[in-house]
Subunit: 703 residues, 2 copies
């Protein structure tokens, strides 16, 4: 994902405040004071035609009048004047703006028109803008502190490697507050507002380019640029800089709430989750998860697998850690025989020497023994990470453990985390050792296990996803689609599928009045006989389907479905009947939707109750490769059915995966022409027998 450098936004050499107020408590005054308090070193130019001097400084009538290079403009003029202010910045060659002013699309039709005008002003002037309707941005590094509200006073915010972007400033800065209290340090924090120009995915991508950012976090309710999330995820994996996304508006009521406060396009939560999985973005749902993961990721050590070794001084901690670890997909394998033997020689008999091990207090009170214990476990090739559970161990004991842990961690490249709730006042020395040596410590075993699991998944995504390439796609030569928003008949729909290499049942279209039995001669019975008409999308409802028809009964069945179709819809134009071989196997369904945020996406589920009652369906953004298709098959809750159930043979998952890929290429190639597509059912035969679309419906869009 190539993003233009936002260095001048995050680290501006000079700042202009457009619409600077004489009152430092107003929105248009607070950034002036904040830049003083933060210790920003560059010049801050005030612009307001009503003053020639303000707060003891020169005040300019417009940006161009400044006459010196400026990297960033803070725009806080009334809404109607914002587009002109942006153009003014463009004329003054100011590359970036942060627009604090509200009153755009969030406030009705007039605001929507104004926002369109603003978008045009950005485009034409070349000014890249954050906002409008945002709370501003800050950098703990450059001391750029162009914000209003309580965060304008928080210029002591802890420095660190985490950059974040929020579609809700008030909520976002509350998250920052809470995370800081728990030990997270920040680099750049941006409230993105309406994202008229710079969107969340582009901003997060630019944050990854910042050498001082090691982890990025975004709170987003929606984006029209859903597809850019895929590039963002890939970049995150390639750079080994994790990106966490908290998607707000997951539920109906959350979506309603989002609509009333930002008028953001909130989109389909299922597709966001699909994009996260597909690209390696990490979904998060609360502040503690962000804090904990930021801590364990700060080691920049990526576990080679999903296993973790656990050494505990409290039995219950080990149990709780193990429970949560297993639920989050980690494994606590038994230690290797030599590891176990070596530990058994150190740990007293009333302790436990296998994973999760209970060292007992006797071991931790002898630092050299404790160090050996750690070295032994870290040397075990079956162990990818290590967690030390120290309960609330205070004082000297905690200090000794900290020293031993720091020493052991320095000798390995495996992640080492500590779960510890020692009171800081009673354990200043241990806190210092952990902090100085970059050893993450988390407050509870459950949180430690969850963070370790997220770390393992990120590392695994780096191994699994980085090499994947979305397949090429193109319209097949000779494929003609009708113009306009047409619902194709089954025969036409299957024709489109076939053109893209998707297998369908063997079948023949027999025109009305033709000899059905003769036409079906090359096919093997029994047959499905179905009416073919663009005007009858719901064939079963119309009585237009007969299944398991014997060869001898074909003519009768054909007459019947045509008669039923005519009765159902007297003015339907009927092409004839489709005579198909009856397919068999496991029933699945594959669909395509064309989403406003993500474009063409593929849905997949199993037939019957699993999809209809349990909503056991999965999604991916099209196009995608066969490994992604295999992931889709494997992640269904009912995935076991593919391996044979109640004596059925195992199903041809590879053929199904190929079909998913072909459908994804088709969806990508048809692009905006495809409104939606359903293959229902697909019959997945036994291994080696392939799979076939038994029915299909393609709905085209205008254009």
């Amino acid at each position: 994902m190539s993003t233009p450098s936002f260095e001048r936004l995050f680290s501006p050499r000079a700042i202009a405040i457009i619409g600077a107020s004489g009152d430092l408590t107003r929105i248009s005054g607070q950034p002036i004071q904040a830049l003083v308090n933060s210790g920003y070193k560059g010049p801050v130019h005030l612009v307001n035609p009503r003053y020639s001097e303000l707060h003891g400084r020169k005040c300019y009538p417009n940006a161009a009048a400044i006459g010196e290079p400026v990297d960033l403009a803070v725009i806080a003029v009334p809404a109607a004047g914002v587009p002109a202010a942006v153009r003014d910045c463009g004329a003054a060659k100011i590359p970036f703006a942060i627009i604090l002013t509200a009153g755009f699309r969030e406030s009705g039709d007039e605001g929507r028109a104004l926002e369109a005008e603003l978008a045009k002003a950005c485009r034409e002037s070349g000014v890249r803008a954050i906002g409008p309707n945002c709370q501003g941005a800050l950098s703990t590094d450059s001391r750029m502190w162009c914000v209003f509200g309580s965060v304008a006073e928080e210029t002591g915010l802890a420095r660190g490697p985490v950059s974040c972007a929020f579609q809700s400033g008030g909520f976002g800065y509350a998250v920052v507050n809470l995370a800081e209290v728990q030990g997270v340090g920040f680099r750049t924090v941006v409230s993105t507002g309406n994202e008229t120009d710079i969107t969340m995915p582009e901003l997060l991508s630019a944050m990854l380019d910042d050498p001082g950012t090691e982890l990025a976090f975004g709170y987003m309710e929606g984006t029209p640029e859903g597809r850019m999330l895929l590039d963002l995820g890939r970049k995150s994996l390639e750079m080994a800089k994790p990106v966490l996304i908290w998607k707000g508006a997951q539920t109906e009521i959350g979506t309603k709430a989002a609509a009333s406060h930002t008028a953001n396009l909130t989109g389909n939560y299922d597709l966001f989750r699909a994009a996260f999985r597909q690209s390696g973005l990490i979904e998060t749902q609360d502040v503690e998860e962000i804090v904990d993961f930021a801590k364990v990721a700060s080691q920049k050590r990526w576990p080679k697998g999903r296993s973790i070794g656990v050494l505990s001084i409290s039995g219950g901690s080990g149990v709780v850690f193990a429970d949560r670890a297993a639920k989050e997909g980690l494994t606590l394998p038994p230690f290797a025989p030599e590891t176990f033997k070596a530990l058994r020689a150190i740990i007293p008999s009333f302790g436990a020497a296998d994973n999760p091990a209970d060292t007992t207090a006797a071991v931790i009170n002898q630092p050299e023994l404790f160090t050996s214990t750690l070295d032994i476990v870290l040397a075990d090739p079956g162990i990818d990470q290590l967690s030390l559970l120290l309960a609330s161990l205070p004082g000297k004991g905690a200090y000794n453990c900290a020293v031993a842990i720091a020493a052991a961690a320095a000798k390995t490249d495996k992640p080492v985390q500590v779960v510890w709730s020692g009171r800081k006042a009673k354990s200043e020395e241990a806190w210092k050792v952990f902090t100085d040596n970059g050893i993450p410590f988390l407050p509870t075993p459950a949180r430690g296990a969850k963070a370790a699991a997220t770390l393992a998944r990120f590392a695994e995504d780096r191994r699994r996803l980085v090499g994947r390439k979305a397949p090429a796609f193109a319209m097949p030569a000779g494929l003609q689609l009708p113009d306009g928003g047409v619902t194709l008949s089954e025969v036409e729909s299957k024709g489109v599928l076939k053109a893209f290499g998707v297998g369908v049942t063997s079948e023949i279209l027999v025109p009305v009045g033709a000899d059905v039995a003769a036409a079906a001669k090359g096919l093997e019975g029994p047959f499905a006989v179905k009416i073919v008409s663009r005007d009858i999308a719901h064939k079963t409802e119309a009585g237009g389907v007969k299944l398991k028809v014997a060869a001898a009964d074909l003519a009768k069945a054909a007459s019947k479905v045509i008669a039923n179709g005519r009765a159902y819809k007297p003015d339907a134009s009927i092409d004839g009947v489709l005579v198909s071989e009856m397919a068999s196997g496991l029933e699945a369904l594959i669909g395509v939707v064309n989403d406003e945020s993500f474009g063409p996406c593929v849905t997949f589920g199993l037939g019957g109750v699993l999809t209809e009652v349990l909503k056991d369906v999965t999604f991916r953004i099209a196009p995608f490769d066969i490994e992604t298709a295999r992931d889709m098959i494997g992640e269904l809750r009912g995935a076991k059915l593919f391996d044979g159930y109640r004596g059925q043979p195992a199903a041809d998952k590879e053929a199904l995966a190929s079909m998913l890929v072909e459908v994804s290429r088709m969806a990508a190639a048809l692009g905006p022409r495809l409104k939606e597509m359903d293959i229902n059912p697909v019959f997945v035969g036994p291994v080696g027998k392939g799979c076939r679309a038994a029915d299909a419906l393609v709905v085209l869009k205008d254009g």
Copy 2:
């Protein structure tokens, strides 16, 4: 649940330390120092035959020698001497002991024998004992501080209404530390160790009896007294004192870890969850959940339903709260028209006046307006709770809000919570107002929503569960069971079911060689023909089942299944064939297990993939009433299938619920005689048509 008063344990008038050490840093010395540090006011008598004086006090050779009334003995003698020490306490009329010593069942066969001896000593002496192998107990009220380890030094622990018990001392005291830092105050804290005498359910029940305890929490890995949890839950609901349970050892690896550290009977996690649901106990999985719920429950206001009104000053907070609330089962209904109208008149147009409402800063900056807003929402009869989302509002603004919220909360009995992450240093005044007025404030919207949902569920359980009565049960007159561990044949199994009023398919047993067609005359075909033999439990596997047999084919089918049975197991004793009417309807299965912790329990699920692939099964402890049975039906993930699926009629849920109740009464009546029972399938007919057990298998136990 009537528990003997533990008042003298929690608030002893005098304490004896049996095995008092001369070294105050040893386990047998630390409680002596802790009782000094805590400011315990009663006499502390030291007992150790090796000294006549210790730490400047008189030291007694044994407990009886003290010659004054003592309520509590701390026993810290070597393991082998513990049973004698307990008997000694009994002789000295000391009613309670806390046994710190380890080396019992957790340390092998010898320890197991010693523990049996200890149990006998407790029983015979009448001494009620905590432990052994525990870290002790403390009371912030009575200043009883009989513990060792870091908590011995934590005598400044905050006072409050929360009592807790832990099966892991180290982990438990770490939880206490973390919870205290987040604002929770404690009453009594007990590490229960091996629970040889006093078990977790009994202890928690006694804690509820303590007038100073408003909420109890237990960390448990298992208990042989599972059934006592049902009484505990009922008592909790009746007294309106919530009980939270964290069940450790939920997973295979967690269970392995628990086995190695306490040798507790960890039991079946599914049954624990069933017991929690059945009785109103609240399951919890991490410290934050406990902290947050303790805060919202401290108001002692029980919402009348699941709705919540939300007023926010930050759009994103409202979205995130709404998302989580919906996922946790709360509703955010639209405000009543008059509420909306009144809010609309106050909230500016760029705010949102419907639920979740966005008041905007304009409203919160005018305290009288903000107060009206709160009063309006609290007066809405459709709103059961109120949550105020204040993001990280600092200083004066936070103070003004706090005053308005406290005033509004004082006028209502609805729960009022605040989500607020203001920094304490910048908001001392607001913290004080909230704290002084008992207004709970939680750090994140997601945590606030979860806590509010738990509060609503507890209140709902009080309404739903308290009135429920487990039905009476008895062995039916005339029911004869064979002795020993016998697997009954289908006919015998169904005979048992019928004796308990469980409906089975209409059918007749036809002995080998008899005229099958004649025997089946009163029945309606088609038929199921099944072999009947105690020796063939898996009839289908043996070829012993023919389905959909027409009347004319009965004789042939009967001969065939008998021949197949003989071929399958030549020495099987064959009673004949069972000719049954074919039942139809939705397929379900009902089972009984007899669990070591919980005794007889009923399992229930739907037939097919839902149970076999997705493990969509539910459990309850037997016996139970019809409302509980309805809960079971409703909580299956596939529950929608009962309401008709793909054109099927709605199923007779009431008949099914009745059958579940009858099965539960049967399980309770058979008690220890029943090893397990399966009805598979049950056919649930359309509404009004009832349901029938089509196959059944009863396995008896010895005794």
